[in-house]
Symmetry: C2
Subunit: 384 residues, 2 copies
């Protein structure tokens, strides 16, 4: 029985994790639930799963039913918890991740920002205290599964990308995509921020940085391949040229379940892939000219230090502006690039420096978005 604390239980991954918990029955016990502001849903989850602890940003509005209110770090440190599933968005997952790893627990990580911003600190904490990081993202779960039983070096990681809804759009057409279009991802059903990040390929860039930290592979050995069918979730190439790929229906409950049960493979709710019909899996290189966010993320990852935090802060702010209709879709990359160019790396990369870098990039983008985007647009026109 895996005793699980679920942080971010009311979000997209959180609610799917509870579906998995329902399916797994006695193999999993939910001992803590942490939601944000959706107190109605959190109360209902508490009534169903009877956790001992809960956390909410609005604790007074939660019906606790005997569960005790606690901070995220208290929950992550609790001795009754084996696995902390971090499915919070943004940087809220950072401190609980570190708290859990420092107690030698398993952290099932569905939150990208934690590793993107503080990968060095998180990986060091895991090594030092014997904590274990298990990926929940389908791409990293695929790599994790392909590496199972492989103890030698890795030649290359091949992260697959759906390409998002706009992969066939021209640069011109990309400037005019609407919020509604950007929120309609062709394959995955996810939260708003990550859906926009998927459309700009920033999400894939964050995954490259995450893969670097999870699997200790240098950036120039991590490639992104566009694979619109989203059946192969990623691949690993070994030094002998052999490539292993992991494939499954595009359903987040599968990697969530694997993170909670591995090394066991428990029969899933979803039907396996069928091979009785013809099927074509296609792969093509990424065009970073039309999707510069992937290039920016790689650059920030390779620069290291506080650069990835600045990337996250700038992207958070830029996506928010796009969702409010204040900037065009292509303005996101422009704002992120501006913030990265403006960023001055702090000495060392303490948690404080990381949070500062994130905050400053976020403020910079929010304060100057209009002039930056206008200037970029003027430059584009001048180039034509």
């Amino acid at each position: 029985m895996n005793r699980v604390a679920l942080l971010g239980s009311t979000g997209s991954v959180g609610t799917q994790a509870l579906d998995v918990a329902r399916h797994l029955g006695d193999r999993v016990r939910i001992v803590a639930l942490a939601g944000g502001r959706n107190t109605g849903l959190l109360s209902a989850q508490i009534a169903e799963f009877h956790p001992r602890l809960y956390h909410s940003l609005l604790p007074d509005r939660v019906t606790g039913l005997g569960a005790r209110a606690a901070t995220l770090e208290e929950i992550a440190s609790d001795e009754d918890v084996d696995t902390v599933l971090v499915a919070t968005s943004g940087t809220a997952g950072l401190e609980p991740t570190l708290a859990a790893l420092r107690r030698g627990k398993t952290v099932a990580l569905a939150n990208k920002e934690v590793l993107v911003m503080a990968g060095g600190i998180v990986v060091e904490a895991a090594h030092r205290f014997g904590g274990r990081l298990v990926p929940v993202d389908s791409e990293h779960s695929a790599i994790f599964q392909c590496l199972r039983g492989e103890d030698g070096p890795i030649a290359r990681l091949l992260l697959t990308a759906s390409g998002g809804p706009f992969y066939r759009y021209t640069s011109e057409r990309l400037t005019s995509v609407s919020v509604a279009e950007a929120l309609a991802h062709p394959v995955w059903s996810m939260g708003q921020k990550i859906t926009i990040d998927s459309a700009t390929l920033m999400n894939k860039g964050l995954e490259v940085i995450e893969a670097h930290w999870l699997f200790g592979v240098p950036f120039d050995c991590i490639e992104v391949v566009v694979h619109p069918q989203c059946l192969i979730h990623s691949m690993v190439e070994f030094p002998d040229g052999s490539v292993k790929a992991q494939m499954s229906p595009p359903d987040m409950t599968l990697p969530i379940q694997y993170a909670l049960t591995c090394p066991d493979r428990v029969p899933a709710r979803t039907a396996p892939l069928s091979w009785t019909d013809s099927r074509s899996l296609t792969f093509e290189p990424v065009d970073v000219t039309r999707f510069p966010c992937l290039r920016l993320a790689r650059q920030a990852g390779a620069a290291g230090g506080t650069y990835p935090a600045a990337l996250c802060g700038a992207d958070e702010a830029a996506v928010s502006l796009f969702l409010k209709g204040r900037i065009p879709f292509t303005g996101i990359a422009r704002l992120v690039e501006y913030a990265l160019n403006a960023h001055r790396a702090a000495d060392g990369a303490s948690l404080e420096a990381i949070r500062n870098a994130e905050r400053q990039a976020c403020s910079l983008v929010t304060a100057h978005s209009e002039e930056i985007v206008m200037e970029g647009a003027a430059q584009s026109r001048a180039r034509l």
Copy 2:
């Protein structure tokens, strides 16, 4: 250092295995070489690799250069041998395989007939004496690699098939394919018998039986999927719906090398797969109406006992008749089906019973080929 006895050194897999040995340098030492009738090549191999033992069907014509002539079983039992690479064709590999397994050695198996005909006996010998079977066929090597580190049950094996040169041919057109057409395999360069078996899909049927014995998977959990690009060499589906696939350039030196070095993955001579160009991997179900050999092999495998031996004997004879221009391509399946229907299973499946079944089916096909094929053709005409 792996001390290797190579049986079948002058054949297609054998010569490629020596290429691998050249590439691997000190990791491998060739301590014995066994060739058939190509004594010139065997002599040259002996001069290059300086084995302690050799075997030939025409030993007097071999320049031994200090190597001692020995039987295949002596070689397979020799205490200086760690791995016996069985790359002989037909049933000559059976006794040396058993001899090596009974001494707890590793058998790298490139010969299908050994497991197809005597899978039960071979697997039992391996279990009882601690011998280890390592596959060399690209499909089984792929499965073996996908199973690395996976200790739970297997839901399905998905064997990929190129489909051979005639996969798009109509039944009508298949009756008139020439020997030259059948010997021109679109992807793999192999010996004559296996090239014809690939064109009829009998080879894939033999692989299904082989996979059954190697991995202990029931026949109804082994599927064949046509994959003309031959990059995914096979796949394993686990109970949670996760599928692992192994991919590499279609080059036999890779699985041969893996069999000789695993668990190590040594950088290969061949260039890894490139992902900078677009690529499409297609999959489609097999049509066993046009390619009945796959169905016949499955039936023989599931019937067990001496049936797979009868299958092998009949196919050997039928392919030989086709290569001599005595029967049409579609006559191969017809003859095999006739021999299987005529076969009476022996009680138990001793090595003697297995060899008898093979011989009888072979004789039956050779003796009655013309009337069987003519009768089949008449029936076909009658059906029209």
